[in-house]
């Protein structure tokens, strides 16, 4: 079974990420059995149908997709995937913080796509708690990417107080 990092542990993962490659459109997607993460456009078009399945859904957003579109639906999702098409595309860091800090989403946020060890620390700070590493990457080695620094200056999801407020406290 594929593995991901979640809450700092390597675990088995059975979520299937449904993609709109090639011919596939939001309308034509079929739902396999088991846990599925659907593209945001499919969710927006076929909400009722997805909710009628026996398993609670996950959804995933591409880096250019605005989280505002699903802000009212968050209670339905077990997991929200954020795609990094390339590691240099940093839009999902903002998306993750918005999900946690503005919309108070408490479920799993999973980084998918070009997810690499060097980015995990930033991702974790922005509220991403699960990581599906890019294929072929050493997941054991990547774990250390979560612990690059022992201290941080800024307020973020993992540490809502900036260093300067903790220093004077």
């Amino acid at each position: 079974m594929p593995k991901i990092i979640k809450n700092g542990q390597i675990i088995d993962d059975d979520w299937q990420i449904l993609k709109l490659d090639g011919e596939q459109t939001a309308a034509s997607l079929a739902w396999p059995d088991g846990n599925i993460m659907v593209p945001m456009t499919a969710w927006l078009e076929r909400k009722a149908e997805i909710l009628s399945r026996s398993k609670r859904p996950g959804v995933w957003l591409d880096s250019h997709e605005d989280v505002e579109a699903i802000a009212g639906d968050l209670e339905h999702f077990v997991v929200i995937g954020l795609n990094f098409p390339k590691f240099t595309d940093g839009r999902a860091y903002s998306t993750a913080r918005l999900l946690r800090e503005r919309y108070a989403y408490r479920g799993e946020i999973r980084a998918i796509g070009d997810v690499l060890q060097d980015q995990l620390f930033y991702m974790k700070r922005c509220g991403i708690d699960a990581f599906a590493l890019r294929e072929g990457k050493d997941i054991e080695a990547a774990l250390s990417g979560l612990r690059v620094f022992s201290e941080t200056y800024q307020a973020a999801v993992d540490q809502p107080q900036p260093l300067f407020r903790r220093r004077t406290a």
Partner: protein
């Protein structure tokens, strides 16, 4: 700012790992051009031993924060900008959300009446101001930048109270991170987003975002600001009279010293003190280059005369910030003996020049030989004094590291069918009246450049009134006479020049 110990370490590193030379950039950083890749970890280790690093010096992240080289000592400053820079440095270092922006992001801070930090040519420029109630805060400029599309930053907030500085910048950066273009590297800077949305709409989006962040945990506390500010204390100045007798005597007796002092010694807010610029623009040397020995000489001067501190300017010179006037003559003698006292600060040969084609992989053309050709054409100091204040900057390509857009005379390397050509702009300015220069016409061969510059200068010396600087005359009489003289006797229509007109249009319309 550097300590003498840090500069000595840089000297040692340049000797051990490079060719005994460093290059100061317009980012006020030092660049080493020939280190071995496999030795970089060792170099970083050496840097760390004196609290230096190379973090966020490349990549699409927030780069080092820059400010006025006279911060803390300038008579015209409202307050010391350095604590602001340090607060911003901490906020921007490994900022978790903004490490992978659409493009690099540069922030500069100015707190003086005259802007010496080119804040209007930065992605974000911060001007520290008082409001009518006497509270301190910042005026926020966004979307300035040079590069292939030079733009002057626009004010998106006239007054932002100091405590909101970080949360407001979080909002600016978040809007940029989410909506800045990522499909085309040349259109990815924040200036393009600001222009595409219009400054009103951009401002509206920032304010909307900020309404959620305002007054959050990132709100800067007075206690923190003061804690940081305590790291920038004034050194233990002596109580001195404003004028120093021996300094005045040396000025009278020694003409060479007097000309140096006129260009290289600067006003200081403490009586009896001056700041000194050590010129790294000596004839025959690449602008901004400094040898290991020169670094050590400067470190010694800083220890002996300036509380062990020095600063790097974006004009690629070095400043000793706290010099007793009575020590100026001694400093001049030592620096002159070490090629650091070219009395040309603010003059034509105090050029800003990027490394260009000799060293930079992105270059279209070499820039250092052009600088050297101009230096040797204008080697008569009396003539340079007569020309007076003028800025001449050279970039080897559109990336504009040499700030050519904001120079009175700008030189830009362009590539045409594998040949090096140079495009000339005039009328650019930095400071409060920041302006982007205009292209005078088709570009030139390298060997024509010094002659063209001489032609431009001649127009000025013929037409000026007694009080006018080059830029003043240019603004009064317009670009036309300069254009005409530059091309007089030259064939504008050499065949290879046809394709350059495309390049030119891009800049003219930008």
């Amino acid at each position: 700012m550097l300590s003498s110990a840090q500069l000595r370490k840089l000297a040692e590193i340049s000797r051990r790992y490079d060719r005994s030379v460093g290059h100061f950039t317009t980012r006020q950083n030092m660049q080493l051009n020939w280190p071995k890749f496999e030795e970089t970890p060792e170099i970083l280790g050496e840097l760390a031993s004196v609290e230096m690093h190379a973090v966020q010096t490349s990549g699409n992240c927030i780069r080092n924060i820059t400010t006025d080289q006279f911060a803390g000592i300038a008579p015209d400053e409202l307050t010391d900008p350095r604590p602001y820079c340090e607060v911003l440095r901490q906020w921007s270092t490994f900022h978790p959300e903004f490490a992978f922006l659409p493009r690099k992001f540069k922030i500069a801070v100015n707190a003086a009446r005259e802007d010496r930090a080119v804040i209007r040519a930065h992605d974000v420029g911060l001007e520290i101001v008082n409001n009518d109630a006497g509270e301190i805060g910042v005026r926020v400029f966004v979307g300035g930048g040079l590069g292939r599309t030079p733009v002057i930053g626009k004010v998106i907030r006239e007054f932002l109270p100091r405590k909101h500085l970080l949360s407001y910048l979080d909002a600016v950066l978040r809007v940029y991170n989410r909506y800045g273009r990522r499909d085309n590297m040349y259109k990815a800077r924040i200036k393009i987003l600001v222009n595409a949305l219009g400054v009103e709409e951009f401002t509206r989006q920032v304010e909307a975002e900020w309404s959620h962040l305002k007054d959050g945990a990132t709100t800067l506390t007075d206690a923190e600001f003061e804690r940081v500010a305590r790291h920038f204390t004034a050194p233990e100045y002596e109580h001195l009279p404003q004028d120093d007798f021996s300094y005045a005597a040396h000025l009278k007796e020694d003409k060479a010293f007097a000309s140096w002092a006129k260009r290289c010694a600067h006003a200081h807010k403490v009586p009896g003190y001056a700041a000194v610029t050590l010129s790294l623009k000596a004839p025959g040397f690449a602008p901004g280059d400094i040898s290991d020995l020169q670094m050590e000489v400067i470190a010694d001067l800083a220890d002996r005369f300036s509380f062990g501190e020095l600063r790097v300017t974006h004009e690629q010179n070095v400043v000793l910030s706290d010099i007793r006037k009575r020590d100026l003559h001694e400093i001049w003698k030592i620096s002159r003996a070490n090629g650091l006292a070219t009395p040309n600060i603010g003059l034509l040969t105090d050029m800003i020049c990027c490394p260009g084609g000799d060293l930079c992989a992105l270059a279209n053309a070499r820039s250092v030989p052009i600088a050297e050709a101009i230096q040797s054409k204008f080697d008569d100091l009396d003539y340079l004094y007569d020309i007076g204040d003028i800025s001449l900057n050279i970039s080897g390509c559109m990336n504009s590291c040499g700030h050519h857009h904001v120079a009175n005379i700008g030189v830009l390397g362009v590539d045409k069918n594998g040949e090096e050509w140079y495009q000339i702009t005039v009328g650019g300015q930095q400071g409060n009246a920041t302006a982007i220069g205009k292209v005078i016409g088709p570009s030139f061969y390298a060997d024509e450049v010094p002659l063209v510059i001489a032609a431009l200068i001649t127009v000025y010396t013929e037409q000026r009134t007694p009080s006018e600087r080059f830029i003043d005359t240019l603004q009064r009489i317009g670009i036309e006479p300069f254009k005409q003289r530059a091309y007089a006797g030259r064939d504008k229509r050499k065949p290879a020049r046809a394709d350059a007109s495309e390049n030119l249009t891009e800049v003219v319309n930008a």
